[in-house]
Structures are given as structure tokens and as C-alpha cells.
């Protein structure tokens, strides 16, 4: 007696290839991950330029330089970063059920999505860093204008700027994805438990710092880090958030 074998009539694709295909799937509509961030970047930059021109045209010469320097507190250079939170939510809320519809495993989706986040964050960070460096050169030439050179970017080198932008994007993407994954898995109950847990952990940390009087030491310790080191450290909570997202999605039923 022989049993019909299941010799595949379909050529099998290996795991790494499937992960790369998930990355391609994320990028098949480039508007979501790359188009909109750069539209936001362009619009925000345009607004900053108009504001700078208004300052130049209306503020008396004595105060003009100070007003232009004031633009370095605008955070406008980071405006596209907050859109990454929307991307993180959408990835889990709609790309995940779509990917499962293409017979992609959860593991392949998570690995492909992590890869997509790294690639997208690297591309965006590279573009924004180039613009920061150009803006630094403009300021060095004597024209004061701060859009990308706001915050710590004015005095940092290009590598630090890149690492900052890269880490911040990864952190925002991972946190938004993790919170959405908890919602997809456990719905409102999951949200309530998550935020209570976050509040309790924050309270516990603050309590320990206050009760043990280690606040000063803690700040001194943090201050001992370089800017680049601080931003590299953001990748740790990002990895933890991604792990939380994976745990939630691993057994998340696909509801309709």
C-alpha cells in the first residue's frame, strides 16, 4: 500500500526570501512609508522658510538675529517623525491582516516588518541628515536658519544626527506597533491592562528614585553618556517594544 505523497506542486521559498518579500510588500505602495514622510518634510520645511522670511521682513534688525535663533526651538524638523506613529499603527492594524491573507506566517510578517522598519528609518534618517548638514553649511556661511539644525543637531556631527533620527524613528515605530498589537490581540481589556502596567512601572521607578535618593546620581550617570550613546540606548526600549508586539501578534486571531 502506498500513500499519496504531497510532493509540492509549488516551488517552496525559503524563510529569508519570504522575509525579504514581506519587506517588498510593505514598500509596494511607497506612499505610506516614504511618500508621506517626505511630503510632511517638504511642507514643514516650506513653513519654516516662510516664517524665517516673515521674521526677516518684519522684525527690527536689532532683534532679528535673536528671533531667527529662536526658530531652533521649533522641533519642526521632527514633524515627519510623528507620522511614523501612524505608520506603526497601520502596519499592525491593516498590513498584518492583509499579509496573513497572502498566506504569510506571523513570524515572517514580524521579521519582514522589522527589516522594513530598519530600511525605512535608515533611508529617512539619511535624507534628513543630508538636509541637516546642508543647513549647517548655510548657517556657517552666515545666514541664520534653523529647521533641521534645531535641538542638539546644530552642534552634532552628521553621524550623531543620523543615529538620533534613526533611533527615534525605530522607537516610535516599535512603540506604536506594540500598542496596536496589544489592542489587536486583547482589545480594550488589553489597553486598560497595558496602561495600568505602564503607570505602575513608572510609579515604581519614581518611588525607588525618590525613596533611595538616587536621583542626582541617576542624572549624573545619564549626563555621562554622549548624545550618540543616549540615542543608541533608545534602541533597547525599541527592541523591548517590538518583542511585546511579537508576543501579542503571535497568537492574535484575525478578527473580522
Amino acid at each position: 500500500m502506498t500513500v499519496i505523497d504531497f510532493t509540492p506542486t509549488v516551488s517552496q521559498v525559503s524563510g529569508p526570501n519570504r522575509v525579504v518579500k514581506v519587506l517588498r510588500l510593505h514598500l509596494v505602495n511607497r506612499m505610506i512609508y516614504l511618500g508621506i514622510p517626505w511630503i510632511i518634510t517638504a511642507v514643514a520645511l516650506g513653513v519654516s522658510i516662510v516664517v524665517a522670511l516673515l521674521i526677516a521682513a518684519t522684525v527690527p534688525a536689532a532683534d532679528r538675529q535673536q528671533a531667527l535663533e529662536g526658530m531652533s526651538y521649533s522641533w519642526a524638523g521632527l514633524s515627519a517623525l510623528w507620522y511614523m506613529a501612524v505608520v506603526g499603527v497601520q502596519t499592525v492594524a491593516s498590513a498584518f491582516p492583509f499579509a496573513l491573507g497572502f498566506s504569510i506566517t506571523r513570524r515572517e510578517f514580524a521579521a519582514g516588518t522589522a527589516l522594513a522598519y530598519l530600511v525605512i528609518a535608515a533611508i529617512n534618517a539619511t535624507g534628513w541628515t543630508i538636509l541637516t548638514v546642508i543647513e549647517q553649511a548655510i548657517n556657517d556661511s552666515g545666514v541664520t536658519f534653523h529647521h533641521f539644525t534645531a535641538l542638539w543637531f546644530g552642534s552634532s556631527n552628521a553621524a550623531t544626527v543620523w543615529l538620533s533620527l534613526f533611533s527615534l524613528q525605530i522607537l516610535v515605530l516599535a512603540l506604536a506597533s506594540a500598542v496596536t498589537a496589544v489592542y489587536v490581540r486583547w482589545r480594550v481589556i488589553g489597553m486598560v491592562v497595558l496602561w495600568i502596567a505602564v503607570a505602575l512601572v513608572a510609579l515604581a521607578v519614581v518611588s525607588v528614585i525618590v525613596l533611595t535618593g538616587t536621583g542626582e546620581n541617576l542624572f549624573a550617570w545619564l549626563a555621562s553618556f554622549s548624545v550618540a550613546g543616549l540615542f543608541a540606548a533608545l534602541l533597547v526600549p525599541a527592541a523591548l517594544a517590538f518583542a511585546l508586539g511579537w508576543v501579542a501578534l503571535r497568537w492574535a486571531p484575525l478578527r473580522t
Binding site: 509540492p8 506542486t9 517552496q12 521559498v13 519570504r18 509596494v28 505602495n29 498590513a95 498566506s103 513570524r107
Partner: protein, 307 residues
């Protein structure tokens, strides 16, 4: 000797959501290269069963095996499955062309020519956001992916909601022609039972999460008869038989009776002035469902026939 091995084997699968049993101890097999109809009323558990079989949902108890293995997180199995869900979600701002561009990356047997032809036949707009497409156009997109995927096992869950009659006929014709050329296993859930009954080789009927019927379609056709005439004669004829449904209008009655009738039955009916008409698969399933709702199915129709 070669024995047919099921490509899908479900054994005692139960899926509970708090106090709801979406699937209740469901067991059946699907043979390779057949077209199976998964039928049942709204909320009967059809979609849940398909999601279990495609690893999107997890059984509370029991086992589901596809191509001999648990489909959950099993890339080797899932690569050979295409699941077209009526409630498929797409990322915001996705257009049909994005779906059709990326589908070949995941379905190794993807037939681009067939997909292109179907896009034309269904008049599917490729460059409009999917969420702005009509219900029928969204269904057409699913049908195109399901047919062009050429996956060894394809699940269609209510694939033609909103499709007009012409588009539905196009789907049936394409499915049959393609199936004849390239046989594969198709599981199709639908409400339009009469429309697809000629397509089906096997029928599974779910009722409130339980498997009510598991039977080959050929034996199902003509396996029940509608007897009409004066109520007293109908009741006399039906005595000792399994009556699936009975309607009365004044002194007249119609009864759906399970089981094939013999020549002697036909003669007896004619002598009593009764008319006998075949019962369509759809009517049979409607009657079985109503019967099951009134009397919980302690014995399935299939088991009774097999006894």
C-alpha cells in the same frame, strides 16, 4: 494500491468565544483535487472554520491538519494555500494594482495572463483605492487573486458578495474551465447554493457550529423528494419516513421526505393522488437547517442515509 489521502483533515475541532461555540466538535476530511461546498446560515461557523484551516484562528480543542500538518505558522503548508476572505482587509491607500503586483511574490504558481484577462473581464479599476471600490469590485479582486494564485488548496469565503449575475457566471465558468485544466482542491462557502450546486463534488453543511451534513453532492441530489397533495394522504405516505419539513395550506400539504423513493413508492403516491417533485440542494439544506433548529441533530442526514 494507492489510497486517497485527505488534503484536509479536521478532527473534533471546537472554537469557543466565551459562551459561544463558533465550532462545536467538527470532524471531516476533504479529498485532494475536489470542489467542496461549505454551506450554512449566517453565523454557522463557515468563516471561523476557514480561518482555522488557514492558521489565522486557533481551535480551542481538536486538531486541523492541512497537507498532513498543522497549518499554524507552517510556512511550507501556507505557501500552498490561498484564502480569499469576504472580509479581507487591505492597507489604507492600497490599490488593486498593488495587490496584483505583490501576489506573485507569495504564490509561486501565479498565472499573470489569467489575472490580466480577469481584470479586463471583471472591469476592475486598478488605480483606484480599494476602499473606494464597490463591494462587487472588491469581491472581483478577491476572485482574481484566488483563481490566478493557482494554489493547490484555495479557500473562497463568500467570494462573490455584491457581484452581479454576469460576473458570478464568469467566476463559475473560469473556475470550472481552469479546474478541468489544472485540478486543485477548492473549498467554497456560499449562500447561493443552487447557483453552485452543479459545481460541487462534496458538500459540508454547518449549523450553529456543528457539522450537519458531510456528503458527496451527487448522492445529495435527488436524495429527498417533495410530496404534495391532500394533507391526510401526504401524512399517510410520510408515515414511517423521515420528514424534513411540512407545510400546509387549507387541506393541502407538502412534505419534504428524506431518502430515495422506490418505483413502488412512486406507484403508491400516484394512486393516492400525490405529486412527487425533486428537491433542489438548496431547498434540501434549508429544510435540513430548519429541521435541525427544531430538533438538535443527534443523527446527521449523511449518517442516516449510510445506515
Amino acid at each position: 494500491m494507492t489510497i486517497p489521502t485527505p488534503v484536509i483533515h479536521v478532527d473534533g475541532v471546537t472554537r469557543r468565544y466565551r459562551d459561544l461555540r463558533a465550532l462545536d466538535d467538527v470532524s471531516f476530511s476533504v479529498q485532494r483535487n475536489t470542489i467542496t461546498g461549505l454551506l450554512g446560515r449566517n453565523g454557522a461557523g463557515k468563516s471561523t472554520l476557514m480561518r482555522v484551516l488557514t492558521g489565522q484562528e486557533f481551535p480551542t480543542a481538536g486538531t486541523a491538519r492541512v497537507l498532513g500538518a498543522n497549518p499554524v505558522e507552517n510556512s511550507g503548508v501556507l505557501q500552498r494555500i490561498c484564502f480569499i476572505s469576504e472580509s479581507q482587509r487591505y492597507p489604507d491607500s492600497f490599490q488593486a494594482r498593488h495587490v496584483l503586483t505583490s501576489a506573485p511574490w507569495f504564490y509561486a504558481n501565479w498565472d499573470t495572463d489569467l489575472a490580466d484577462r480577469l481584470v479586463d473581464d471583471f472591469r476592475l479599476p486598478l488605480k483606484r483605492e480599494i476602499r473606494k471600490l464597490s463591494r462587487g469590485q472588491q469581491s472581483a479582486l478577491g476572485v482574481i487573486v484566488g483563481l490566478a494564485s493557482q494554489a493547490p488548496i484555495t479557500f473562497f469565503d463568500e467570494p462573490y458578495l455584491g457581484l452581479d449575475a454576469v460576473a458570478r457566471q464568469l467566476f463559475y465558468d473560469t473556475l470550472l474551465a481552469d479546474f478541468a485544466q489544472r485540478p486543485r482542491t477548492i473549498v467554497l462557502s456560499t449562500h447561493l447554493i443552487d447557483e453552485v450546486s452543479d459545481l460541487l463534488e462534496h458538500v459540508l453543511v454547518l449549523e450553529q457550529g456543528r457539522l450537519m451534513l458531510d456528503q458527496d453532492a451527487e448522492s445529495l441530489r435527488g436524495s429527498a423528494s417533495a410530496i404534495a397533495g391532500r394533507a391526510a394522504e401526504v401524512d399517510r405516505f410520510a408515515e414511517g419516513r423521515r420528514v424534513l419539513h411540512r407545510d400546509t395550506l387549507g387541506g393541502l400539504a407538502t412534505a419534504t421526505i428524506a431518502g430515495a423513493l422506490t418505483a413502488a413508492d412512486h406507484r403508491a403516491a400516484a394512486a393516492a393522488g400525490l405529486e412527487i417533485a425533486p428537491v433542489s440542494v438548496q431547498q434540501l439544506i434549508v429544510d435540513l437547517s430548519r429541521n435541525a433548529a427544531q430538533n438538535p441533530p443527534e443523527v446527521s442526514f449523511a449518517e442516516e442515509r449510510g445506515a
